[in-house]
């Protein structure tokens, strides 16, 4: 168990190093930081001095090592565009994105699993057929279109919900939350549906397929043959086995939700890191782009790790060390 965790952590560190290399290359090869930072009228002497000060004359390996060292302490330098420390910028925007992603993730998971189980257990019902056909729309429509459609119906036509921004926020420490105010929560509705719909459909279809598969297995037949009530068979024996593969995929989806938030944040002018990234791309604000890249990678890696450990906790067959001790 310990060995397994250490191995997984080592793998995660390796992945982060590769991503760091990509981020670092952005600095080296996309545009000239000196030109970007000093503008046109700086003197040659100033440029040389800045080059020296930024360490751009050191060997590349040394520069990379310094970059990693700084990144590890959260130092990604100063945003070219906003002239603020990048980490500060990202931290101020992160709560908005995390709240949105979390709500969407929970929505997608809860609805996805419930609808998946429902459609699997009532395979022949008309409601299942309706849910399955509707879900096709969910997978095939692009996110921004869903967002625009929702805005048009619920914000413009019905005027029930706001169409952009976070509403009123409350600051707790460095965390600015929209969950504590009426308008904050109302503002979350449309973006989180937009962001979560695709993942919900995927989870639902996955759960349905897995569950149907599990319901055909011998151990389910045997559970029925022992006279266990449907409730125990479906929600005890079948659902638990269904969730083993679903947990992995769902966990990874949470990573994609955060990454895909870019589109939703743009459509709803949501002040999160995704929107920050889009603006940075327009201004070739390399430090912000590099930091965003590393942040997303870190989130993916951490989620992956947690998912693997969860998987391990759920499925006793993976706990090999114990099995080997017996025979």
């Amino acid at each position: 168990m310990i060995a397994y965790i250490l191995r997984r952590i080592a793998q995660s560190v390796l992945v982060m190093l590769v991503v760091a290399l990509v981020s670092f290359s952005l600095f080296r090869f996309v545009g000239d930081p000196v030109a970007t930072m000093m503008g046109q009228e700086a003197s040659q002497a100033d440029r040389v001095a800045l080059r020296e000060r930024l360490g751009l004359n050191d060997p590349v390996v040394v520069q990379f090592a310094v970059f990693i060292g700084r990144a590890a302490t959260g130092d990604f330098g100063i945003s070219y565009r906003l002239q603020q420390p990048v980490m500060e910028l990202i931290l101020s925007r992160l709560p908005a994105t995390l709240e949105l992603a979390l709500i969407s993730g929970v929505l997608a998971f809860v609805l996805g699993v419930s609808l998946g189980v429902y459609t699997a257990l009532n395979r022949r019902g008309w409601l299942s057929a309706a849910i399955m056909s509707t879900s096709l729309i969910g997978v095939s429509l692009p996110t921004f279109l869903i967002g625009v459609l929702l805005i048009w119906v619920f914000a413009v036509e019905l005027q029930w919900l706001p169409s952009f921004g976070r509403g009123e926020v409350v600051t707790i420490g460095f965390w600015r939350t929209g969950l504590l105010t009426e308008s904050g929560r109302a503002s979350l509705v449309l973006p989180s549906i937009t962001l979560g719909l695709y993942q919900m459909t995927l989870i639902m279809r996955l759960v349905r397929a897995e569950m149907l598969e599990v319901l055909r297995t011998d151990y389910i037949k045997f559970a029925r043959a022992r006279g266990l009530p449907n409730r125990a068979v479906h929600f005890g024996h079948a659902l638990k086995n269904t969730m083993v593969p679903v947990i992995t995929i769902t966990g990874l989806q949470l990573g994609s939700i955060i990454a895909f938030a870019i589109i939703t944040e743009t459509v709803f002018q949501w002040p999160g890191v995704g929107a920050l990234f889009i603006n940075s791309v327009q201004f070739v604000d390399i430090p912000v782009m590099a930091a965003y890249l590393m942040l997303i990678a870190l989130i993916f890696v951490v989620i992956n790790l947690v998912v693997d450990l969860l998987y391990y906790a759920v499925d006793p067959r993976l706990r090999v060390d114990r099995a080997n001790a017996r025979h």
Binding site: D218, Y219, R226, A232, G236, R317, R322
Partner: protein, 327 residues
Amino acid sequence: MTAPLLSVRDLKVTFPTRRGLLTALDGVSFDIAAGEVLGMVGESGAGKSLTGAAIIGLLEPPGRISGGEIRLKGERIDNLPPEAMRRVRGRRIGMVFQDPLTSLNPLYTVAQQIIETIRTHSDVSEAEARRKAIALLDRVGIPAAARRIDDYPHHFSGGMRQRVVIALALCVEPELVIADEPTTALDVSVQAQIIDLIKEICAERGASVLLITHDMGVIAETADRVAVLYAGRLAEIGPVRDVILNAEHPYTKGLMGSIPTLTQESDRLVQIPGAMPRLNAMPPGCAFNPRCAHAFDRCRSQRPDPIDRPGNRQVACWLHAPEAAHG
């Protein structure tokens, strides 16, 4: 004579398909007395598993019982409402499936699965159920049962798992145990042990057994009577010794051509030239007539019903009709 424990009369099982109704079991009748072991043999596809599934009320839709009746101690169980039938399963009829590797839920310990089954059917405390479970595991031959009970199925070998399955099937002391090829998936070296175990433990508890198998050797050593199924119809039924030594149905005679003993690798039952007819291409008259060396005109036009024979036997063959007008 007292009423038999199980009485199956004119059982008919059909599957509606796109190309019409398939009749998979047609007019199957037999009794099992209390404490009796009835062997059931027949080629693959003869309908042995369907007979078991029909009795325990677990036919897979769209398959259904479309005729006849099944009585347990005189009480009809083929038309019970689902909830009442569920309470019959496990408590009054236990079932042992073919493959112990897939019959147990991989995510639950043996203890959890047995205790859940006991507590579903009887009002006992967790501790009491656990005590019963350990005693039962001990009885079916699991060494160190008190410790092994908390292991997961994958910690056990195939033979040990089948012992666990037997314990699960018997944990609420059913009156009838249906064992559907309980040793086919097992190593030859443990097959005899498992068969002996089923026979002994059921005898101890006075439970009757419906033992489905391809292996005439097993039937010869285990069963009191044997039923031979051919293409969804009963060909012959009678006391094991009589049927084996003096088969009356031409199909049974073919089957008895060679009886492998338990210690040998057992052959599948295919010594007769030709193949069993498909359900959608049943010949008129006797289902066996295309392969039968004794077939005569009547066999090709009129279907033989089981005919009572001396010595508590029945055979469905025109050769044994009282008027015996063939030539």
